[in-house]
């Protein structure tokens, strides 16, 4: 709905309509929810609203992607890549930052990550060039200390499987061992909804593909 239509329909002051507009860009937020959030913020103390605004800005300015693994990072390299205690010859490939967080919570993996930022989705037109696949291959080619195993930890969905098969095919010429998580992830097949015990056993039971 265009801004002037909302204004006419809602009778809100212009400054509020602007906020409603911005909030409606958030996933799953429609006009009604956006207006409710705007009213809520209007009634909060000034310091609280400033803190929220500053937190938003700070996140946007400080958080980027790790130059090596594309995980969320403050600065050029993420905390995992920067940690000397992590094994550097094993890389776990995940679809998104939430999957990485689930694996870190499970404390079952002590290597490095690579975040693809999506999965192959032929029906949505998401192809290999839309993911960080070329970056992974470059990373494996250019590592000074060779990687002995790549664990493909994409979700147990059609899209996750397609991505895993594609990666396994792309890794073959590099001579790197590729493994896939064991089956047994829950309902949606999403890592981010799996509990730590499930993730630990899926990692432990990984097979070569």
């Amino acid at each position: 709905m265009a801004e002037n239509q909302i204004k006419r329909a809602s009778g809100l002051p212009a400054a509020m309509t602007g906020l409603v507009q911005e909030l409606m860009h958030l996933p799953g937020v429609g006009e009604k929810t956006a207006a409710r959030l705007a009213f809520h913020l209007l009634n909060r103390p000034r310091e609280e609203v400033i803190a929220l605004a500053e937190a938003l800005l700070e996140m946007k300015e400080r958080v980027g992607l790790c130059g090596q693994c594309f995980a969320l990072a403050e600065g050029a390299v993420c905390r995992v890549c920067d940690d000397p205690a992590r094994e550097r010859d094993i890389i776990c490939v995940v679809e998104g930052p939430a999957d990485l967080m689930a694996l870190e919570r499970a404390r079952a993996f002590n290597g490095l990550y690579h975040v693809l930022h999506g999965a192959l989705a032929p029906l949505d037109g998401v192809g290999p060039d839309d993911l960080r696949i070329a970056e992974l291959l470059n990373r494996l080619r250019s590592q000074s200390s060779p990687v002995r195993e790549v664990i493909i930890a994409t979700n147990a969905t059609v899209e996750g499987e397609a991505t895993a098969l594609y990666l396994a095919r792309a890794l073959k010429p590099l001579g790197v061992k590729a493994t896939r998580l064991a089956r047994g992830l829950p309902a949606g097949g999403d890592l981010e909804y799996s509990d730590s015990a499930t993730l630990t056993s899926a990692l432990g039971g990984r097979r070569e593909i």
Partner: protein, 256 residues
């Protein structure tokens, strides 16, 4: 509240919505193509016994909602419906995705689509068994077009009716006529034509009559025949399908 309805259905497409919901488009056997919202689909194994994702074959239980809103998906059960195991092969996933997208693109919403449902079941079953060959793709394309009222004819000239095998060559596929023109009729047939070797016309004619399950054992048409089908499909769907690029990339099939 509207009464609960049910039908066997195949999931064509899904989209995550909010935390744990999913918006799902399906081809049903009894009610055509439908879209609905499945609350908690990402976490509930109780109501969604079979996962709602592309290729899932489910007994769909749903309620309609007023004013053309998305229907409400109550449950999706296995009920002994066959499932299609394509996940171990990238080419099968790619071809299967294309089949799903083609169904979505060519079937009008909430129209009778029992033929399309039956065809899709047969196509996915054959794909699982025989793999992603060009003959199966071409046969499915023509069978689906026919089920959607867009039957193609490669057996005879659309203008003079002469059997293709007996007419002067080269034949031409004329998109707007959904068929071929012989060399003699071609000047009158319009100019958006793809020249077809006689062998391609014969292969397509045979594939369009055969059972889908038999298609993998028949010869596929070559580049020109595949191109003619793609042209006609793009014109009928009004757009180039998103899954085509992926299919051609992973299956190594020739792009039109």
């Amino acid at each position: 509240m509207a009464a609960e309805e049910h039908s066997p259905a195949i999931v064509l497409r899904t989209r995550d919505y909010l935390e744990s919901d999913r918006i799902v488009t399906l081809i049903t056997r009894d009610f055509g193509r439908l879209s609905g919202i499945a609350r908690g689909a990402k976490v509930s194994r109780r109501r969604f016994e079979r996962r709602l994702e592309p290729f899932s074959h489910v007994m769909l239980r749903f309620r309609r909602r007023p004013h053309g809103e998305l229907m409400f998906i109550v449950r999706a059960e296995a009920e002994g419906l066959e499932s299609f195991l394509l996940e171990h092969d990238l080419a099968r996933i790619a071809m299967g995705s294309y089949a799903l997208e083609l169904c979505e693109a060519l079937t009008p919403e909430a129209d009778d689509a029992s033929d399309v449902y039956t065809l899709l079941v047969e196509a996915l079953r054959t794909l699982e068994r025989a793999g992603a060959g060009a003959a199966l793709r071409q046969a499915f394309e023509m069978h689906l077009l026919a089920a959607c009222g867009l039957a193609l004819d490669f057996a005879r000239c659309r203008l003079c009716g002469a059997p293709a095998a007996l007419t002067a060559h080269p034949l031409a596929f004329v998109t707007e006529r959904g068929g071929i023109a012989c060399a003699r009729c071609r000047p009158a047939a319009g100019d958006a034509a793809v020249l077809l070797p006689g062998s391609d016309a014969a292969a397509l004619a045979a594939l369009s009559c055969a059972q889908l399950a038999q298609a993998p054992s028949l010869a596929a048409a070559g580049r020109a025949g595949a191109h003619a089908l793609s042209r006609f499909i793009a014109a009928s769907a009004g757009r180039r399908l998103r899954s085509v690029e992926f299919l051609e990339r992973v299956a190594g099939q020739t792009a039109p």
